[in-house]
Symmetry: C2
Subunit: 342 residues, 2 copies
DNA sequence: CTGAAAGCGCTTACAG
DNA sequence: CTGAAAGCGCTTACAG
C-alpha cells in the first residue's frame, strides 16, 4: 500500500509538501506541484481517508435515510441533493434500516465523519427524546415534527399527518361516502408514530360529520408494504362488504389494496374507492391512478437544504415548520349518489 | 469530545487497558473491566472509528449497490444480508449513484474501510476492465458476467440476459405473436451493457422463427424508469398500432408501458400484451399482473454470500456462474388466435 | 515556498 | 494482568 511517505520519498519532497499538493494549498511552487501530481498519478495514490479525518475539521452534511426502499424519502433525497449541489457543501447519504435507531447512528457518525450538519429523513421522536442531547451540531428532521422536543439545534419540516388524513377523509365524505374503512399502521401506537396521528385525523373527520366509526369493523392494521396492504385490505373488505371506500395510510399499502379489491372482484372506484398517502411516483402509474394526499417533497427538500446551510454557516435559529399537503384528485375515488334522493 | 485518554485518566487505568476492555480482550482483570465499562457508559464514550481503522486489520464485507432505488438490487441485498447474518462477518452497504464508477468507488473504500471482501450489486464491465486490477481482495459481481475479464480475485453470478430475452420473446411467439415491439435501453450500446444483450436476445428469437424485425418501427429506446417507459411505449404504440405485444426490457419500464397502453385506450392483454424483466415485487400487484422473466434473486444472493465467505477465509478459486431465470406467466400476455385459420 | 516535528485517537507488541 | 511507548497515515502550525 503506497502512502504519503512513499510519494514524498519518490518525489524527493517532504511529506508536508506532498500533503499541501494533495489538498490544493496555494503555497507550493509550480515545479513541486507538477512533479508530485505526476507521481501521485503514476502510483494511483489515494490518501487514507481515516488518517485525514483524524485531524480534519468538520465538513459536509450527513443525510440519514431510514428505510432504503422508502419511495417518499428517495424522492425527497433526490431533491435535497439537487438543492445542495449548488452550495459548496459535500453531502453523504447513509441508509439505515427501517427499525434502526437513527439518533444512535447519528452520534456514531458525528464521531466518525465529523459532518457540520445532519439531515434526518424520517425518524422516531422517541429516539430523539432519549439521546439527541448528545448531538450538538445543527440538524434537521424531515417529515416529523420536532416542535415538542425543544432542542435548539434541531429544526423540523413536516406534513401535518393528522390534518392531511382528516382532509382526505372529509374529501371522501363530501363525495357521499359514509362507510369508510381504514387500513395501515397500528391503532394502539403512540403519538410519536405517524400511523397514530393519521388515524386520529380520520377519526376527527368522522366525529366532525357525525359519522360513527367502529374500529373493530372498519379498521385493519398493517405494516407499510404492498404485501401487508394487500392482506389487510382483503381482510377488511371481506369482513365488511358494505364499505364504499378504503383509506390506506400509505401509498404502498394502497397499491396492495388496489390489487386486493381487484382480486375480490371489486372494481375501483366503481365498487369501492381507495385512497393513499404520500404521493409517491408510482401512484401516477397505477390502474386506476391513485387518489392520494401528496406531501410537498419539493418544499420539504428546499426548506431543509436552506435551513441546514444557514445554520451550519451562520447563527440562525432552528425552526419547526408545517408544510402544506395537497389532495391529488385522481381516479380511484368515485362520487356516491345520495340514495335518499332516489 | 471525550477520548480514550479521558477514560483512562478518569478510571485510573492506562490507555492500553481501556483499549483492551473496549475490544473485549480476555487478559483484563474483572475489576478493571467492570470499572472501565462503568465509566465508558457513564460518559457515553464511543471510540473514534477513524483512529481505530488506522491500525486495524481488514474486516467485514463491503456491498456496493448501484442505484439507490433499484428494486431488483434492493431485493437481492435483503437476501444477502439474511444469508450473511449467520456468518460472523459484518456487512456494510454503500449506495452508489446509477452512473457512478463503482470500481473507482471500491478502490477508495478498500483504502478507507479495509474490508476483507467486496460485493458489487450491479456494475459496468467497462469500469472493471479499466481499473479493477487495483483491487486485490476477493470480490463478487452480481447480475453481470465477469468471465471475459479474467481477474482471478473476481467471481460473478448472473442471469443470461440474452437467453432470457430470447426465451421471453419465443414465449410470445409461441402464443401467436408475430408483430412484437421492444422498449428500453439503447440499441447502439455495447456488449458491456445489459440492454444491448437483452435486445440481442429478442433479435435472436425473431431470427430463429424467421420473423422480420424492423428496428426503426418496432424498437423504442428508453432509460429504466416508469416515466421513460411510459413515454417510449406511447411513442411505439402510436407509431405502430399493429403491434400485438410489447417486450419491455425492465419491469419499471413495463409498469410505465401498462399505463401508456391504458391511456391509449388499449386493454392489456386483450388489445396488446406487455412483458417485463427482473421479476420485482411490484409486478405481482399491477393490474393486470405482469408477465415477466424473473431473475433468481435467492440463488444469486446465496451463491454470492457463500462465495465471498469462502474466498475471504480460505484459498478458493473465483468462479463465473450463470444462474437460471424463470418466465413468470401471469396476466399481461394473451394468446393470439391464428387469423389465417378463420 | 519548504521541511521537521508535534499531534490526531487509537492498537498492540514488548516488558514486567 | 497492566503500563509505557511505538506506530498507523495524515495535517498543520512553526521556523526558516
Amino acid at each position: 500500500m503506497t502512502t504519503i511517505k512513499d510519494i514524498a520519498r519518490i518525489s524527493g519532497y517532504s511529506i508536508g509538501t506532498v500533503s499541501r499538493v494533495l489538498n490544493d494549498h496555494p503555497d507550493v511552487s509550480d515545479v513541486a506541484r507538477e512533479e508530485i501530481v505526476q507521481i501521485v498519478k503514476e502510483y494511483d495514490f489515494i490518501p487514507n481517508a481515516n488518517a485525514k479525518k483524524l485531524k480534519q475539521r468538520p465538513k459536509g452534511i450527513a443525510i440519514l435515510l431510514k428505510g432504503s426502499s422508502n419511495f417518499l424519502f428517495a424522492d425527497i433525497l433526490e431533491k435535497i441533493q439537487t438543492a445542495m449541489i449548488k452550495s459548496e457543501e459535500e453531502t453523504t447519504v447513509i441508509y439505515l434500516d427501517e427499525d434502526e435507531n437513527e439518533v444512535t447512528a447519528a452520534i456514531r457518525i458525528v464521531k466518525e465523519r465529523k459532518p457540520k450538519g445532519i439531515i434526518f429523513l424520517g425518524g422516531n421522536l422517541k429516539y430523539f427524546q432519549e439521546s439527541f442531547d448528545q448531538i450538538t451540531i445543527p440538524a434537521v428532521l424531515l417529515t416529523n415534527n420536532a416542535m415538542n422536543l425543544h432542542f435548539d439545534n434541531l429544526s423540523s419540516y413536516s406534513t401535518d399527518d393528522t390534518a392531511a388524513c382528516q382532509a382526505m377523509t372529509e374529501y371522501c365524505i363530501h363525495l357521499g361516502h359514509k362507510n369508510i374503512g381504514i387500513v395501515g399502521g397500528n391503532a394502539d401506537s403512540s403519538e410519536t408514530q405517524v400511523s397514530y396521528r393519521r388515524i386520529q385525523g380520520c377519526i376527527a373527520a368522522f366525529d366532525k360529520h357525525n359519522i360513527p366509526f367502529d374500529k373493530d369493523r372498519q379498521y385493519e392494521p398493517c405494516r407499510f408494504s404492498m404485501q401487508d396492504g394487500y392482506d389487510a385490505t382483503a381482510r377488511l373488505l371481506k369482513r365488511d362488504p358494505s364499505l364504499t371506500a378504503v383509506i390506506a395510510l400509505g401509498d404502498v399499502i394502497a397499491i396492495g389494496a388496489l390489487r386486493a379489491a381487484n382480486d375480490l372482484g371489486l372494481r375501483v372506484p366503481e365498487d369501492v374507492s381507495i385512497t393513499g398517502f404520500d404521493g409517491i411516483e408510482m401512484t401516477r402509474y397505477t390502474i386506476p391512478r391513485l387518489t392520494t394526499v401528496a406531501q410537498d417533497t419539493s418544499s420539504l427538500a428546499l426548506k431543509c437544504s436552506i435551513d441546514i446551510m444557514q445554520r451550519t454557516h451562520y447563527k440562525y435559529e432552528s425552526e419547526n415548520e408545517i408544510i402544506p399537503f395537497r389532495i391529488m384528485e385522481r381516479e380511484s375515488v368515485r362520487t356516491i349518489k345520495e340514495k335518499r334522493k332516489l
